[in-house]
């Protein structure tokens, strides 16, 4: 146990980034050695594309983790945005306008989760779970006047949206990967260079001290959850182009993989430590791992179980609380 504590003490921000980088490198080596065709352009481009979906959906989870919360509504918002966009576009609304509507609604939904949980931070998980469930159910009822069966919505997906996730683009990677990288850069600059971004770290590190330093913690909490829903909705809409049809359960894997990516990157779930740069590494590690596991022809269910097993040692490293005798 003492050794664990020492190891943890060594893990500064740079240390964690280096550790995550090494893990990613080792995983890629394992992939190259064990999986046939891993180091091919086709596979690398596909892996990056899959990573970009998770990466965009995880921006919000990373912000939530930095202020010491967790957003369980991401999966539901992804699904709701996915079928919502298809319904709006097929209802004759111009796609640009439809996207703005969805993003605004998502911002409002996230704001509601944030506003309710800002008074009872301990119940954030339950609030986001409740809001997410209710919203997805409501969107499904609203959408169902079109053709729905088992959560699948039929309709025509706009061509440019499919082009966003197409591997046959003139640039090396799918355009969606570029979108992710731009959003990632913006998030990192936002967190490091802006007053609001530093405020989020202050809140996560010490709530009371942040309040004394005149950081508007309540407002920022609401803003963070609002942003989380917006990035989740963006991921859901991009996924519509990838799958070519609406499906309300498309976000299901993101319920826990967003949390896992944040954890694997080394951002503490109790707040104040980490950042989106680390989370990008976490997203890449997770996606490469999933590619390797698929290469071993493991089913999605088996992959899920392995992911669960992976979370435990990570939380042991990063989110251990001290023994009560040390807190007296």
């Amino acid at each position: 146990m003492e050794i664990l504590a020492k190891v943890r003490g060594l893990l500064s921000e740079q240390g964690r980034a280096a550790l995550a980088g090494v893990v990613l490198f080792v995983l890629v080596i394992i992939g190259v050695v064990t999986v046939n065709g891993f180091w091919s352009l086709v596979n690398l481009r596909a892996t990056l594309l899959i990573a970009s979906f998770l990466g965009i959906a995880t921006i919000g989870q990373c912000l939530c983790a930095l202020v010491g919360g967790l957003d369980l509504s991401i999966a539901f918002v992804v699904g709701a945005a996915n079928i919502g966009l298809l319904r709006l576009v097929n209802g004759g609304i111009p796609s640009g306008f439809a996207i703005v509507i969805i993003l605004l609604v998502a911002a409002a939904v996230g704001g509601v989760s944030g506003a309710i949980s800002s008074h009872q931070r301990g119940q954030t998980l339950v609030v986001t779970l409740g809001v997410g469930t209710a919203v997805l159910g409501l969107v499904q009822i609203l959408v169902s006047s079109a053709s729905v069966s088992g959560g699948t919505v039929e309709g025509t997906v706009p061509g440019w949206l499919q082009g966003l996730t197409s591997l046959n683009s003139p640039i090396f990677v799918a355009p969606c990967v570029v979108v992710w990288l731009v959003l990632a850069a913006l998030t990192i600059v936002f967190l490091r260079r802006t007053w609001v971004g530093r405020g989020l770290y202050a809140m996560g590190g010490n709530q009371r001290a942040a309040e004394r330093a005149l950081v508007p913690t309540r407002t920022l909490w609401v803003v963070v959850f609002s942003l989380s829903a917006v990035t989740a909705a963006a991921a859901g809409m991009i996924l519509l182009g990838y799958t070519g049809g609406g499906y309300s359960g498309v976000g299901d894997p993101y319920l826990f993989t967003t949390i896992a990516a944040v954890l694997i990157g080394g951002t503490s779930l109790v707040g104040g430590r980490g950042g989106y740069g680390l989370t990008v590494l976490g997203v890449l590690i997770l996606t490469v791992l999933q590619t390797i596991l698929s290469g071993f022809s493991l089913s999605a269910a088996a992959q899920e179980a392995i992911l669960g097993l992976l979370i435990l040692p990570l939380v042991a490293l990063y989110v251990r609380s001290p023994h009560p005798r040390m807190q007296i």
Partner: protein, 342 residues
């Protein structure tokens, strides 16, 4: 009349202590009247027994996670749904392979498996010192994945004596006896020293430690109690379903957690009542029953989702409001006092 005023003040203090039960009780009354009006068959022996087996799994699941919620910190057990699913598969598929189909053996195995899963979780929580919600999240993934690997497609049929539970028409049925037995067990357990220590540990682990409560055995004790009820809930679930299903049971996580919150449990630890859990679970079941009487067709399950999520959020808001009033910080209290405090 000093006796009268003493009685009134005693009644008042009792009422104040029970504020957490106000929301689920009021909701129960409203839903029960709605259910009685909309579903004419509910108040017959047949209807009551259908209600019992329908509500029993979520009822016992909520009662199960109540102890872990009391033990804190952040004691939401998200793994309850997949855990019930695993025991369901064991009862229907794996145990008959070993020749275990008799009632006593099945009860023993289900409860034993429930305890084993919970003790494993308790050990991880105690030694890694990570909150219950994170550990149970990992366990949710592990079990949910494992269930589908174990049984890719729904199938099988429950042992004969258990399969009859879902179509029972008598009022005095094994379902009722098992439920009554579970409540008696809960009442006995909640009066033990162990349970008092669990409460103290959940309310304030430092105080508990300083008062000589041994934290690790107490935590394991909490998980053993939870495990017993997880086993009972799984048996009820198997009786209701009559077969095995690798995914259907996972939704019990959301219903049980919602019922727990609705029943006035605090996720900070230390505060949760068995009676609240039972009322909350009855509310959850009544919501889906009442919604089922409307003709929503294909949308029925979505309406249940909307109602469950909505009720969960509203219950949290009302709970926060009542807690605020209880401390005298609320606007209603200020208005009554003529707004002198500010």
């Amino acid at each position: 009349m000093p006796e009268l005023s003493r009685a009134t003040s005693a009644a008042k203090s009792f009422a104040r202590r029970q504020t957490s039960l106000v929301t689920p009780t009021v909701l129960f009354a409203i839903l029960f009247i709605l259910a009685a009006i909309r579903g004419a068959g509910l108040l017959t022996a047949n209807g009551v027994d259908g209600a019992l087996i329908g509500a029993a799994p979520v009822l016992l699941a909520t009662l199960a996670i109540t102890t872990v919620a009391i033990a804190g910190p952040a004691g939401v057990d998200l793994s309850i749904g997949p855990a019930m699913t695993l025991i369901n598969i064991e009862i229907v598929i794996e145990l008959p392979k070993a020749g275990i189909t008799g009632p006593i053996a099945v009860f023993a195995c289900a409860i034993g498996l429930g305890i084993a899963l919970q003790v494993l979780m308790g050990l991880i929580i105690a030694f890694l010192r990570v909150s219950t919600v994170v550990v149970s999240l990992a366990l949710y993934l592990i079990l949910d994945g494992f269930n589908t690997v174990l049984l890719p497609e729904p199938g099988g049929s429950a042992p004969g004596w258990l399969a009859n539970w879902g179509s029972e028409t008598r009022l005095m049925s094994p379902v009722l006896y098992t439920l009554i037995g579970s409540f008696v067990l809960w009442t006995l357990i909640s009066r033990t020293t162990l349970f008092r220590n669990i409460r103290l540990m959940g309310a304030d682990a430092r105080t508990a430690y300083a008062s000589g409560v041994r934290l690790i055995p107490t935590r394991i004790g909490a998980h053993v109690i939870t495990g017993v009820f997880v086993g009972l809930a799984s048996i009820m679930y198997t009786g209701l379903l009559g077969s095995a299903d690798p995914t259907a049971g996972t939704s019990y996580t959301l219903s049980a957690v919602t019922a727990l919150i609705l029943g006035g449990a605090s996720l900070a630890g230390g505060r949760a009542k068995g009676l609240g859990a039972v009322l909350g679970a009855m509310d959850i079941w009544l919501i889906s029953y009442v919604l089922g009487t409307f003709n929503f067709g294909l949308n029925a399950s979505y309406w249940v989702e909307v109602a469950t999520g909505g009720v969960l959020v509203v219950a949290l808001l009302v709970g926060a409001f009542l807690a605020n009033e209880h401390l005298g910080h609320g606007w209603a209290g200020r208005m009554l006092r003529g707004n002198r405090s500010h």
